[in-house]
Symmetry: C2
Subunit: 683 residues, 2 copies
């Protein structure tokens, strides 16, 4: 290569990289697009704005999305857009063009080009779904000055990194009504997720109406299930958003509810199956050696499968220890006859039969990674969920791809573990793995998983969002888009856009707090909740027996969220102050310490209520520690007695309170060390 | 009568009256029951609480309600009730007994008796629906000390004053999804309303799926309609709550949407009918002289009527000026032939034909009071909506009852007029009218009406609630239950109970404000919104042409609510202070004046946004007036110049800002008069 050209190219690249970084501070896009360039123009959002669909919109997806786009734009900006529907006039200012209607398979094309100029916005895409993705980008670009709303002049060229970008919602542990599903589908589409994995059955409930086996809804759902009409409605709703729906019917384990309805299919005779009320891994398991089991599943799937047009069908297959198999002599005998050495081999036997049933129905079998046994055919799709937390060296994803399976990753994206958004954002599906082109192609993508043991319709949104928006960026955007501060800045804006779509992650916090104070002033609880996070990694419900499915989820922990906002600020400033004595940080810290000192009195005012009693020691010790640190930092003095007292109080604060943890404890500790090191009065 | 006995009886009565008044300060019941007595016991709400249904619950209503009761009780109190479903054990602590299952007609018995003792709660009712009403009373009685939750020992004997206690929701002007309807049904049941009047069609949309006439949903709904499965679901949901559903198909006027789909049924040939986007009274009207019109309606109603098991069927019939009739020569000719003098006579001709169709379908015709013409048979039910606002001397209710019609009142209960709860609460359906027993019986009850020109799913709850809870009390409780302060105190609590049921009247305010500030601090807007109310009596949308159905309803006015809470306090205290120089009132006033003075700076911080510009003069003038009044009250001085300036500023504040009115203007004026009278410095 000519050296000069080479230098120019390198120059262009680094310029592009810099400019991308500058742009990502300016525009609230998430996921960040593959390419974006400014063009010095400005499209004003005015009453006269019109929009035309140029592509042949035979599915009606763009008509719906464009109409919603006009509503959302009007509602966000307050502009009274005079023409509330797409027009037929090809000269309309916003033009949406696309070539074909997507078939909504994993190979659908979602790429698009968006060009915003002074008097025209042009969207071009291969498919209608690509056009939908572009509309979401456009909406995120809406900006304003003091006096006008506008789209900035940019050209965006975009396409996803992974074809499978999903969110799983478990509706078995806690049923989630249609409205919850729909608003989450809207939110998913807004951040370009394209797979809704619907975990429909588990020990705690079977949530689908069956005409063939009506006892499923009658006896195994507590009356909380989706009718087939509702399922069709959801699938259509998702399709309109360019989202595929993958149903999951978890077998042969996680079957307590199913076996409550049809105990004759269980692995233990005369066992009293009942809908499970606790969380955990349970023993009720389908009997894999009874022909009736396969007849049942074939009939059921034959009835259910047509409701779900997608080619993929998830059969769960996880966490089956086979305890009831081992306890059943007939099953043990069968294993010997069939030379199935372990229960895992028996499960593979079961899975292979299932795959044949599904194949007849035109479906591809997908299952959690336990199904990946040596004899399992590579036609199955492996859903990788286990990793280091389960004692493995890494996730099973790369192994699956190398073994020839198509595969999807969820390890690292278990949002119900309530870890920081940073954690999930930094999990790259492929990471540094060295893969052949074929192996890389087999990694379809990834899914965030919202297990619902500890969430209800009141709280589920605050467990999914906004973190899943950042995860969606991980799935869509280039691997190199990984600046955390930048992501956090954009996420704050995107969080508000999610609220527009009806997501309740912000608004329902106060609902819980108002119930706790019975209408009294909630501000002291708000103050506490902004530095407390719900216990992580399932420690809130150790052993699964503290909470039943019908226990109250209207407690302090339910009002708290991950990445507690005041804690984030306080911890950051404490680190800065103790490292560099930064004065601005000091004043921020100081304001917090004063607030927390004074908060206890306000808390006592409103806390005459049993539901608030568990918070009293937290509030009290926090006030004591804050007051002491505040005074010490102000007076630049601290006695040994005070240090000891403060250490003791901080120790109290390390304990969980009301199923939450105070996530500023380390920072308080750090401040105490600072005071002790600098201001200790030698006596 | 023996004089001593007479005195004792009088004594008992006055004692009862006093004690009722004392009790209503103690218990958060709404509607207030007919009888309540304390019995000095206390039923503790503990983990071990169990509940049994003793009556034969063949419809499953009580099972559902009791299960929900357990959830709601756990969620409100935070008590981990260990048994989450009704048990079979007749010794369970809460016993629910009833004799029969309600047929859900207007004559159903909803009475109940509730007896709370130390270790037992006993509910007794004639019907399952009566038992449901009792469960709501019980839930409202839940109280707590610092350390425990309990039901107070009381005996309640209760029955409604009116058999028809309704809420109408208009889903035509703005479509309301299933989730909105369901949560409002829950809320209705919680305050013992028993009729959901579903205004399903109007100029702006036809919201019901028809298989016979599919163009109705295809061309007349913008894709926003209920499927028949969804309608069945809602009707069942309502039935489970003991709520009857009355559908309204508004004919022959209010027919723009219907005629968009089937223009051949219109009164004007070659007229280009289209779905109406504005609000108001429009001319498109069914053609009453075409046989096809009746064939259409008969076919449609034959298809639709079975979805609604209730005997009553509302045909609207309001606001038909008959302009298109007069303009149609054939129709004029027909009128002459049939000796129908006026268009009202022609409409009666139409209504009588309709009544025959409905009768065949087993339905009773109900219509707005325009249908009450001299020739209309008394088999029709008159829905009285017009009154003094429409130039009448009083509502048409008493007239209808006297003429022999069964009748329901809505005049005085138009909650979309955005008047104070006090206004609606003081409207008694019968008032001082002198009626015979028969006439009284014909007054079935009343309905609050939520017309939806200016509400969306985001805001509708805040327009219905909490005011409708007080209205529900007017319909259920004795006429003598009419103390406004007492009602307001209880309403504040009931408002929180409504929030538990998913009603968004409180939470969605901040959603709107967050959108307006784009995530910046909303407190300055909150301050303003707590003293501003949306323009009343349809003056927000004069002539119906400012807002189209797809205009943004995410504006400041949409965040504001009736009975703005700080205004209520400020106005009350200003009155007290200017009358009596009350010091406590002064300090409250003073705190508000300081807050409003300082608020402007905070407002300027966040207002760099087009959507907030209309509020700037409000914020600024309010700050100026507040500062001046504050200073004058403090220094006990005011100059003529200041008085003039302040008068001028107050004058500015009397204008609407951003479709709201500042509802403290009179109080500010009063304070200025006070200062002027007392502190004017003679120069």
């Amino acid at each position: 290569m000519n050296r000069i050209i080479f230098i120019i190219i390198i120059g262009l690249f680094s310029q592009l990289a810099t400019s991308q970084h500058t742009l990502s501070k300016k525009y609230n896009l998430m996921p960040w697009p593959q390419e974006i360039q400014e063009n010095n123009s400005k499209f004003k959002i005015k009453e006269t704005l019109t929009l035309v669909i140029l592509g042949k919109d035979s599915e009606g997806r763009v008509q719906k999305a464009a109409t919603k786009f006009l509503r959302r734009l009007a509602e966000r900006t307050g502009v009274f857009i005079d023409t509330g529907f797409p027009v037929k006039n090809p000269k309309a200012a916003i033009k949406i063009d696309f070539q074909t209607v997507s078939d909504l398979t994993i190979h659908q094309d979602e790429s698009y080009r968006l060009n915003i100029k002074n008097d025209e916005v042009l969207i071009q895409a291969k498919t209608d779904v690509g056009a939908l993705r572009a509309l979401e980008t456009l909406l995120q670009l809406a900006m304003h000055t003091n006096s006008e709303n506008y789209f900035p002049g940019v050209t965006v060229q975009d396409t996803p990194r992974f074809v499978w970008r999903g969110l799983m919602i478990d509706v078995a542990r806690h049923f989630q009504p249609i409205a919850v599903i729909k608003r989450n589908l809207d939110a998913m589409a807004s951040v370009k997720l394209n797979v809704f994995h619907w975990h429909l059955t588990d020990d705690q409930g079977f949530r689908v109406e069956s005409n063939t086996y009506p006892k499923l809804q009658e006896l195994a759902s507590d009356g909380l299930y989706y009718t087939q009409a509702q399922i069709k409605d959801i699938v259509k709703y998702a399709s309109d958003l360019g989202i595929r729906v993958i149903p999951e019917f978890d077998v042969p384990g996680h079957a307590s509810a199913l076996l409550t309805a049809y105990p004759e299919l269980g692995s233990k005779d005369n066992y009293k199956y009942s809908i499970e009320r606790y969380a955990g891994v349970f023993n009720p398991t389908l009997n894999p050696i009874k022909e009736e089991t396969y007849v049942f599943l074939e009939n059921l799937f034959t009835e259910i499968a047509p409701l779900f047009p997608d080619a993929y069908f998830h059969i769960g297959g996880d966490e089956n220890e086979g305890k009831h198999w081992t306890e059943n002599k007939e099953i043990e005998k069968f294993k010997k006859q069939q030379q199935l050495k372990t229960n895992h081999d028996l499960q593979t036997f079961f899975n292979i039969r299932l795959e044949k049933i599904l194949k007849k129905l035109g479906k591809k079998l997908m299952g959690w990674d336990e199904i990946m046994t040596p004899t399992m055919p590579t036609t199955a799709v492996i859903h990788s969920w286990r990793g280091t937390n389960e004692g493995l060296q890494s996730s099973t994803l790369i192994e699956a791809a190398k073994k020839g399976y198509n595969t999807v990753l969820s390890n690292g994206y278990y949002i119900d573990r309530l870890l920081s958004v940073k954690h999930h954002y930094t999990v790259d599906p492929i990471g540094d793995a060295v893969l052949t082109k074929e192996e890389r192609t087999r990694i379809l993508g990834a899914e965030a998983t919202m297990w619902s043991e500890l969430v209800t319709p009141l709280t589920i949104d605050s467990r999914i969002w906004p973190r899943t928006a950042a995860i969606a960026e991980r799935y869509w955007s280039a691997k190199e888009v990984n600046n955390i501060d930048d992501m956090l800045r954009r996420l704050e804006k995107v969080s508000l856009y999610l609220e527009e779509l009806g997501i309740t992650h912000i608004r329902n916090k106060d609902v819980i707090l108002r119930n706790m104070t019975k209408g009294k002033d909630i501000s002291s609880l708000t103050t506490l909740s902004n530095i407390c996070e719900p216990l992580k990694v399932y420690s809130r419900n150790k052993g699964g027996t503290e909470y039943k499915s019908f226990s109250p989820f209207t407690l302090f922990a339910d009002a708290c969220v991950v990445d507690a906002k005041d804690a984030v600020i306080f911890n950051k400033n404490t680190a800065k102050f103790t490292d560099t004595n930064d004065i601005k940080s000091y004043s921020i810290i100081n304001a917090y310490l004063v607030r927390w000192t004074e908060n206890h009195e306000a808390f006592l005012e409103i806390s005459k209520n049993p539901i608030l009693q568990p918070l009293k020691p937290l509030s009290k010790n926090l006030a004591a520690v804050s007051e002491l640190l505040h005074t010490s930092l102000q007076t630049k003095k601290i006695t040994q007695e005070e240090v000891d007292q403060c250490k003791n109080d901080i120790k109290q604060l390390t304990k969980p309170f009301a199923d939450t943890e105070l996530v500023i404890v380390d920072a308080l500790q750090k401040l105490l060390f600072y005071c002790e090191a600098k201001y200790l009065i030698k006596q």
